[in-house]
């Protein structure tokens, strides 16, 4: 065989090898994709089966002891200690004046506070905000429940209560035994809160 004959043959062989290689790459990519999809499904399945798996505190869990040690200033200049509410059914709402859905639900929380006071419920609004805008807001929209100035550090506290994403508003319902019974990230309303509370104190 002369070199001139061999050249096209080699080229042919090289092309075939390349095609095989490409096919292999394609196959492994498909396999990888399938594995990834399977993994994803598996992980969502476990999450659905046991919501407690990755949350700091899940419904039914006891409130971490450190949370009860927290103290906050109130807009009026007094001190609000969470320990004073231990052993009572309690609704804690994390909010900020710069969070429109939080501002929107303040009257709902106020209505809940007034309606369920007789059943022993307490409502605490912890503001993840600076004191000045909170005071300005409360002078315009009066609320009857306790407000604590949690500052930016309040985000960590809400995370300790299970607010993984750190979003606002975030509402936690705690029963008299100190267990977290309901958690909600995002806006809530009176009917929902009332339904939660009626389950615990009918």
């Amino acid at each position: 065989m002369t070199p001139s004959d061999a050249a096209p043959l080699n080229k042919q062989a090289g092309l075939t090898a390349r095609r095989t290689l490409l096919a292999l790459v394609g196959l492994s990519a498909a396999a990888g994709g399938a594995w990834w999809a399977w993994r994803k499904q598996a992980s969502t399945n476990t999450a659905a089966a046991s919501p407690q798996a990755d949350a700091a505190s899940a419904p039914g869990d006891a409130v971490p002891a450190a949370v009860w040690q927290q103290q906050f200033d109130t807009p009026a200049g007094a001190t609000l200690a969470l320990s004073a509410f231990q052993g009572k059914p309690l609704l804690i709402n994390f909010w900020a004046t710069w969070c429109p859905p939080c501002v929107k639900e303040m009257p709902e929380l106020d209505r809940f506070s007034q309606t369920f006071k007789a059943k022993g419920w307490h409502v605490i609004g912890l503001a993840i905000d600076s004191p000045t805008p909170v005071k300005a807001f409360l002078s315009k929209v009066g609320v009857g429940f306790d407000i604590g100035l949690a500052g930016m550090g309040g985000t960590e506290l809400s995370q300790a209560l299970g607010n993984d994403a750190g979003g606002l508003p975030f509402t936690v319902l705690i029963d008299a035994q100190g267990r977290i019974r309901q958690r909600k990230a995002g806006g809530t309303h009176f009917d929902e809160l009332a339904a939660w509370a009626n389950e615990i104190t009918p």
């Binding site: 969070c99 805008p133 994403a165 750190g166 606002l168």
Partner: protein, 197 residues
């Protein structure tokens, strides 16, 4: 500065103060209005800023300092709220030429360019996404929201330019007059304290 560029600077300064225009558009509009279209005639930003300070001291000396202070306090409040994204104040409010017509411009030096959007969404805050020229030749996201300014009793635009954490390198370099283009919350608080004294 040539006569033409001094003329453009003075006209542009009025537009910056009275209409809240940015420096670039103000310079171009002033040049067009005066019929001075030579590129070499445009004043540079420090020349225009000087003209703006002069205009403010002549026409707005009674109102501007209080408006600037209100905007700086509002900016400081939002910088505290967005502290995790390394916010830096820039533009007229940082440099001291702002009036109530100016918006707040914050540059956020984020590790993850989407983290600010996610945080705002998680708090139910509405914003619009635009893009502005970035520091390295490509466009970057700019999130714009409207915030309440109780001190001025009106809504103020807040613009958050999303930059990379690495962009902070060299960002605080001072210019020929020893002034920087931006400052963090600590630097802003220092300005507010000086101003209040």
């Amino acid at each position: 500065m040539s006569f033409a560029s001094a003329e453009i600077a003075a006209t542009a300064a009025r537009m910056v103060v009275e209409e809240g225009l940015e420096y670039g558009p103000a310079k171009r509009r002033a040049a067009k209005q005066l019929g001075l279209t030579g590129r070499g005639d445009l004043p540079d930003n420090s020349e225009l800023e000087e003209a703006v300070f002069e205009y403010l001291s002549v026409f707005c000396a009674d109102t501007q300092p209080a408006e600037l202070r209100a905007l700086r306090e509002l900016a400081a409040m939002w910088m505290g709220r967005l502290a995790e994204f390394r916010p830096h104040l820039t533009g007229a409010i940082w440099r001291g030429t702002a009036t109530r017509l100016n918006d707040i411009h914050l540059q956020l030096y984020c590790d993850d360019s989407k983290s600010t959007e996610i945080t705002l969404l998680n708090k139910g805050i509405a914003f619009e996404v635009g893009s502005v020229p970035g520091p390295r030749g490509h466009d970057v996201d700019c999130l714009s929201l409207s915030i309440d300014c109780p001190a001025l009793n009106e809504a103020i635009g807040l613009h958050l330019t999303i930059l990379d954490a690495d962009d902070l390198r060299g960002a605080l370099k001072a210019d020929a007059k020893g002034r920087t283009d931006r400052g963090d919350l600590a630097a802003l608080n220092k300005l507010l304290a000086q101003d209040g004294a």
